[in-house]
């Protein structure tokens, strides 16, 4: 049996539609292990430790936890705070004061770095602590895992959103034939790529998909739009906010200087505005834009059932790994080879994940840099939790023209 003590769990970075499933998974599993005494939640992530703001999760009622599994965003509160070297001693001090022996951080690659450093400093100081990272990000950009909890639900929202707005665009015909949707993703195009899951038949929208991994000039985009419009009578394009030109410059680099977040990431947005302006100048059509923004990561009504269960499973697996003596690891999702989708949890060293980004591999990107491949669609399809609802089109049998 492992060391007896208290558990703390926190949520970090951008919320997702299913991140509370990981929290509930941690709580449910922890309740089954007698070595775990207090189950404490960190209020607003690592800031909750630094401020000693913990809540007692054992006292939450079971019904609340069930409904939380359908509730988007981070129920504990989240944070974007880059932990400084000087903070780590303070963290350890608080762990000792509260006899924290189990630490779980649900987050992305910044959070995995934090978790790794916490694990290392505890080992260095000879304090027994089991620190495990629980993966979460709609960006799907963590190394060592087949995919990330949070991605499947965001991908379902994006596929559905692009399909709905494309139905609208197709219906408008020449009264509004060009639609651009700006999709989250600074460096990795996984979420934008999910727009391809809207297609049922060849030629279905989105007609164009632009991701940061595949640099493309503004002129090429305009010509792609023109070609698609001429072929289909309308054009729908999915555009990553971080799409780049071949010089590496982001097309949407219009943010004011100094407009950066706590990690020094530049605030983005604006790629579709730049593209729309070029379309107006060169094709003479006003492109319409959708920027669903934070709906992509919070739209619980479109939660993927697969994502929901996996987010819960990684929470439970993290606790099991910790009580088995692990530390400095992240829970992964490993897909079994074969025609049927089956995923199991696994473990990876945090140092292989911390501060790294997994971008889309070349085999998922079209040669033309304006679409994804069938291989990507086969990768992503199972993650959104079943097909989108069935839509119909009229067969449109023409009425013969009459002579006068």
């Amino acid at each position: 049996m492992s060391v007896k003590g208290n558990l703390v769990v926190g949520q970090s970075g951008g919320p997702t539609a299913v991140i509370n499933n990981s929290l509930v998974g941690v709580i449910h599993e922890a309740m089954e292990h007698p070595e775990i005494e207090g189950i404490y939640g960190m209020v607003h992530g690592i800031a909750g430790i630094l401020n000693e703001e913990f809540i007692d999760l054992r006292r939450e009622d079971a019904q609340t936890l069930e409904i939380l599994r359908n509730t988007p965003a981070s129920a504990l509160g989240t944070v974007r705070y880059r932990v400084r070297d000087a903070d780590y001693e303070r963290l350890l001090e608080v762990f000792q004061l509260y006899n924290v022996r189990y630490f779980f951080y649900i987050g992305g690659n910044d959070s995995m770095d934090t978790t790794n450093k916490i694990s290392l400093i505890a080992q260095r100081e000879g304090y027994e602590l089991h620190a495990i990272g629980v993966p979460k990000t709609v960006d799907n950009d963590l190394m060592m895992t087949d995919h990330c909890p949070g991605y499947g639900s965001a991908a379902r929202f994006v596929a559905s959103a692009i399909r709905n707005t494309a139905m609208d665009t197709e219906a408008m015909g020449d009264s509004g034939p060009i639609k651009l949707m700006e999709i989250m993703g600074r460096h990795a195009g996984w979420l934008t790529a999910a727009a391809a899951l809207a297609r049922e038949n060849a030629g279905d929208p989105p007609h164009l998909i632009y991701v940061p991994e595949c640099p493309v000039t503004l002129d090429k985009i305009v010509e792609d739009v023109r070609t698609a419009y001429e072929r289909h009578g309308y054009c729908v394009a999915a555009v990553s906010e971080g799409v780049k030109d071949p010089s590496g410059r982001e097309l949407g680099e219009t943010a004011a200087p100094g407009d950066v977040d706590a990690f020094g990431h530049k605030a983005l947005g604006g790629a579709v505005d730049v593209i729309a302006e070029a379309i107006r100048a060169k094709i003479g059509i006003r492109a319409r834009m959708d920027k669903p923004g934070y709906l992509q990561r919070s739209f619980a009504e479109l939660m993927s059932s697969v994502d929901r269960e996996e987010a819960y499973a990684v929470g439970r697996a993290a606790v099991r790994a910790a009580v088995q003596g692990e530390t400095g690891k992240m829970i992964t999702l490993a897909r079994r080879p074969g025609p049927t989708y089956v995923c199991e949890t696994g473990l990876a060293p945090l140092e292989a994940v911390a501060n790294k980004e997994r971008v889309m591999p070349g085999e998922y990107l079209s040669v033309e840099c304006n679409d994804v491949t069938q291989a990507f669609i086969e990768y992503a399809r199972p993650l959104i939790g079943g097909p989108l609802p069935k839509y119909a089109r009229l067969a449109k049998y023409p009425v013969p023209k009459r002579r006068r």
Copy 2:
């Protein structure tokens, strides 16, 4: 029995999530009346008549029509084309050529004007034609009807979207505490006002709602945001794209000159950008923005069940009115007084609807010009088809702080 002849039906203006229900309602009802021979669809609205592009809706299979009831956007194709005086003779010529005796146009106030003029010119020329308008608009701005089919589903999307993005904003805390959502509505705030339906308890977001009917200065908005942020720790605001200052100038008046649609309406968008910039300058916080755009009118997964049935009912009622001899009328929805929501179809003269806009009455607007009243909420609540899904919040029992 009415005159024997053919029926044409068309869809016009911006699509909605439920507009195909009105089309299917027309088709289903028409099949029950022996005086109606051909049931023809206009391809892209009035352009389909001018171009003699009709499709034979009797040949569509029943299963397709059922699935169309869950399919967003205009299955016949839609159009934004201002019918010119010279066109009306051509329209009548085509009606005579195809023996069209029943005309149904599913659209907003522009379309009601077109339908009225078609009815009048047929009467003037002594050609028996029954022309009936079928109301449709997410803007909810048609006169003479309690509300418009299409509004309830868009309202449900807006309420849900603002609730989801607010959960995200609340979770972010000081890492991203201000959220602005730009909502459709140039002159009428009905759809933006629907954001209020996201609230369950006092103090729930959205904290602020700005509509075009209630002019407000940029400074006042910034101070409202500051106050809400200080009170709640975060602030979520719903902003109509057409929100105005007391001089009548739109806050988002940043569109390039000449950027107007076929009706001379100026292209808008940008109100939230202007507000975000003012917040950054005066409060020093970068406000986050969601601009769900055309998702508001096409997101079929959030279709309101009430809206779906009413959209279908107005289609059926239009055909019944026409075969009973009516012309120059629009179908209305009339709400019965009383505590239980019941709506029946009625008739109004098209000249009372054509080219008019119904804006929100004063009783629905807060004195401070930053919210709606309980009277509005009671008006709108039944239209979205049942409550939003249940979400939970942790009770957050604090863990006592330990002394060192």
